[in-house]
């Protein structure tokens, strides 16, 4: 090494030595430095469906029920519950000793207020609200939920994994629904350090010393949530290369959503571990707009099924064949309890001639099809380009209209005709366990104006899903899934456009990372 190099090394060594004092202090108190996939901006879990706010919710709040690795709802804050013989009244009793972060006890009234707030917004909550008669406080730890008619999804609804019914203090949950709460007082295993929150940079959570975990071992999102870390620091680093370098250098411990082309080099690094914590993964969704021709015609929507080569799409989106399924024809995700291949035959192999004929049958006469292309979402952009190519092979004229994600998000919510800014198709995705449930799978909703952008209107499909929600027998419900999917392949709310997995990466000294469907921070330890 040159003399200059030696001096540079000495100067850097001094700087690091000074910094090491702070680093040692941090290491002693078990701090996990995690780079998360997005900046935490919104603290109101009923205000947004963004995944980052949902994951924040799991740190600071708790839920009445939570699903286990078999996707069964298990009591979480609830100690015991019972259902009356007429299947109309549920009585829930909470575990003793639970406290909010402000020291106040968790009461039945808090649970009722939280459920009421959540049910206004959440799609599964809205389903439960339709059959709800009323709530009644029995005592501080117990409450009743009375239904107008039997409903088969009560526990699944209360244990919904994505955007679940987080329990917050009554004083917060009772605020007007149109008022965004900025409070973060929950009863979960971690407490948010509001004084250290730097939007756009960092959010800090510390262990909740008053949290009483369940006695059962942690299982997916259920069981004992034991906070072994003293402190979790969420860092938002927008540059993935920087995050990878920081992980390799040991400056961070946990990389929540590494780009899929980083997976191979990370697996080869002996200091890093790569783990797929979501057995179901992410489903890509090809969503036609049912308001505008030609996809307001059922035949034209059917034509889309014959355009798909999922492996080609996943090659473009993911690349690494270890991280995607070559084919999945299940609307409710392959690997879930509701997986079925019924009706998926058209999706197996592209047939452009058939697609062309169906488009014509659906009234398509060669006019331009407006396809939305979000240029700053590389995975969506890649899938959209594959779609455009397939449409052209079927003789369609494609008008790719590009914009950044913000522009596309607004655009796809517009119900206008094509000449006034409307569109025909866009690509989106959904992850976690929710798509495996016909109600929680929001792109499956065929409720016309109430449905997600694309606004499919299919009363037959809606009726089948409603009947499914009212069935209490699990075996019968499973059989009904096949009927629902068969109808879905006729009505085509969307086209399943491929399924892939998004592993996380962490340093080798991080242990206890749970396969939980989404990143959670209980059970994790740092050696």
């Amino acid at each position: 090494m040159s003399i200059a190099g030696k001096w540079l090394g000495r100067i850097a060594g001094i700087a690091l030595a000074v910094g090491a004092v702070g680093a040692t202090a941090q290491a002693a108190d078990k701090t996990l430095r995690a780079v998360v996939h997005a900046d935490l901006k919104i603290l109101d879990t009923t205000w947004t469906t963004t995944y980052i706010t949902n994951r924040y919710g799991y740190l600071v709040y708790d839920t009445l029920f939570a699903i286990n690795s078999k996707f069964e709802p298990k009591p979480q804050m609830v100690d015991t519950y019972s259902l009356s013989d007429d299947k109309l009244t549920y009585t829930f009793t909470l575990r003793k000793g639970m406290k909010f972060h402000d020291g106040q006890p968790v009461r039945a009234a808090d649970c009722i207020a939280s459920l009421k707030r959540w049910m206004v917004r959440d799609v599964m909550g809205q389903g439960l609200a339709k059959v709800l008669q009323d709530f009644e406080v029995v005592d501080d730890l117990s409450f009743r939920m009375r239904l107008k008619e039997p409903y088969g999804l009560v526990l699944e609804t209360l244990g919904k994994p994505t955007t679940p019914a987080y329990i917050m203090p009554e004083r917060i949950a009772s605020l007007p629904i149109n008022q965004q709460t900025t409070d973060s007082i929950g009863s979960g295993p971690f407490i948010m350090k509001r004084d250290e929150w730097r939007p756009g940079n960092k959010a800090v959570f510390v262990r909740n010393p008053d949290y009483i975990p369940r006695a059962e071992p942690a299982d997916y999102l259920s069981g004992g949530k034991i906070a072994k870390l003293d402190r979790v620091e969420w860092l938002y680093i927008p540059d993935n290369n920087t995050t990878l370098s920081a992980l390799m250098a040991g400056e961070i411990d946990y990389f929540e959503a590494p780009p899929l082309d980083f997976i191979k080099p990370m697996m080869e690094d002996k200091d890093l571990r790569v783990l797929n914590i979501d057995k179901l993964g992410v489903q890509f969704v090809l969503r036609p707009n049912s308001l505008n021709p030609p996809f307001n015609n059922i035949k034209a929507r059917e034509a889309l099924l014959y355009l798909v080569n999922q492996e080609e799409v996943m090659q473009a989106v993911v690349g690494n064949p270890d991280l995607y399924l070559k084919f999945c024809g299940a609307f409710f995700m392959c690997g879930s309890g509701n997986e079925t291949a019924v009706g998926s035959e058209p999706l197996r192999k592209p047939d452009y001639a058939r697609a062309k004929a169906l488009l014509a049958e659906g009234g398509y006469k060669g006019e331009k099809l407006v396809v939305l292309l979000p240029t700053d979402r590389p995975q969506y952009a890649a899938a959209t380009m594959v779609l455009a190519s397939a449409l052209r092979k079927a003789g369609a004229a494609v008008d790719l209209q590009s914009g950044d994600w913000s522009t596309i998000s607004v655009r796809r919510a517009r119900k206008d005709p094509l000449d006034k800014g409307g569109y025909n198709i866009f690509i989106t995705s959904q992850g976690g366990p929710d798509p495996s449930n016909p109600v929680a799978n929001t792109w499956f909703n065929a409720g016309c104006e109430r449905a997600n952008p694309g606004w499919l209107c299919d009363p037959e499909l809606e009726a089948l899903v409603t009947a499914w929600t009212k069935e209490n027998d699990t075996a019968k419900r499973r059989a009904m899934i096949e009927t629902i999917q068969a109808r879905a392949y006729v009505a085509v709310p969307y086209v399943p456009y491929g399924q892939f997995f998004q592993p996380i990466a962490f340093r080798a000294n991080v242990t206890g990372v749970l396969v939980s469907g989404m990143p959670v921070y209980w059970n994790i330890d740092k050696q």
Binding site: L8, G9, A12, G13, I14, A15, A17, V18, G19, V21, G22, D39, K41, I42, L43, W47, T48, T49, T50, Y51, R121, N178, T182, R198, P199, G200, N201, K202, L235, I237, P238, D239, N241, T242, T243, S245, A246, A249, E251, D376, G403, D404, W405, S406, T407, S409, V410, R411, A413, R414, K415, T428, S429, Q430, T442, W443, R450, A451, N452, P453
Partner: protein
């Protein structure tokens, strides 16, 4: 002089008003708005409309502008539509990292560029001149992010001397503070070093060809005295102008550097606000940045008269 300062400060008021109007119109007339992003990917159109109404984005544009200007006149830049944190707080949280990076970069760039430019001019046509100008061309031609990644690879990943990313406030220790700033300042500083070195060299060459330099040499003054006392002082005005323009360029460079090195500064705040359509934050940052530009220009103008006694206001 005082009259000039007062006049220039008063002149910023109409500038600010024009900036406010243009920024507001540009933002609100361009496609996209924050409601869809707040609602999330799986939201319905009704969810988005409800949020838009709550944020007041469904009101007439004129009314939105009037309300914003009224708040502005009371010194209230508003709150972020996402987290409800006041814009002034968000900006205040980001000032130290950006200011630190900008100051360190300028100090590094000026302290390297001016001597190199002087030496290149002094040894014009020699291998030293070619080497310095070659380095300047390379530095000026390389994108900042490329220099940044290269520095991280060598200094952080290979030698493990310096941290990859982040920022540590001065209050948490001088060592970590400079350790975190070293690579970003170097990555960003090389570009300005190149710009300044070339400017210094060309200005010095012009001055060194002047008669009074020949006279100074004829009187037997040493090279150091000629270069520093006579030539540099007379070449200083264009150099200072370039430094001032460099600050404007620096703001753009800071955005990239802050992203590459994960520094939570104003640049990243701006980029995130733009991509997320956080209107109050974008408007606030641009207004303050415009004010800073005006003040920097004023400072440069005042510096001229200090460097050149012939310049009077």
């Amino acid at each position: 002089m005082l009259g000039l300062v007062i006049r220039r400060i008063l002149a910023t008021i109409p500038v600010m008003l024009v900036v406010a109007l243009v920024v507001f119109l540009l933002l609100h007339l361009s496609p996209g708005d924050p409601a869809a992003i707040i609602a999330g990917e799986n939201a319905t159109s009704e969810d988005i409309e409800r949020i838009r109404a709550t944020l007041g984005l469904d009101r007439p544009l004129v009314l939105q502008f009037v309300l914003w200007i009224a708040d502005l006149l009371r010194g209230d830049l508003g709150v972020s539509v996402y987290n409800h944190v006041p814009v002034t707080t968000l900006i205040a949280q980001r000032v130290e990292p950006t200011l630190s990076l900008a100051v360190c970069t300028m100090i590094l760039a000026v302290s390297l560029a001016v001597p190199l430019g002087i030496v290149a001019a002094w040894k014009v046509g020699s291998w030293i001149d070619h080497a310095i100008m070659g380095l300047a061309v390379i530095s000026f031609s390389c994108p900042v992010f490329l220099i940044g990644y290269a520095l991280v690879f060598q200094f952080s990943r290979t030698w493990k001397w310096l941290p990859v990313q982040g920022f540590t406030p001065m209050s948490q220790g001088v060592g970590p503070y400079f350790a975190h700033l070293a690579l970003p300042a170097l990555a960003l500083g090389l570009v300005y070093m190149a710009l300044l070195a070339r400017m210094t060299r060309s200005t010095m060459l012009e001055v060194l060809a002047e008669d009074y330099i020949r006279t100074a040499r004829a009187k037997g003054l040493g090279a150091g005295a000629v270069l520093l006392r006579h030539a540099l002082k007379n070449a200083a005005v264009p150099i200072v102008t370039t430094i001032g323009l460099g600050v404007a360029l620096l703001i753009g460079g800071v955005v990239v550097t802050e992203s590459v090195f994960a520094i939570p500064g104003i640049g990243r705040l701006t980029i995130e606000a733009v991509t997320q359509r956080d209107y109050p934050v974008i408007q606030g940052v641009i207004l303050i940045a415009s004010m800073v530009y005006v003040l920097i220009n004023l400072a440069i103008d005042l510096t001229y008269s200090l460097l050149d006694p012939r310049i009077r206001y």
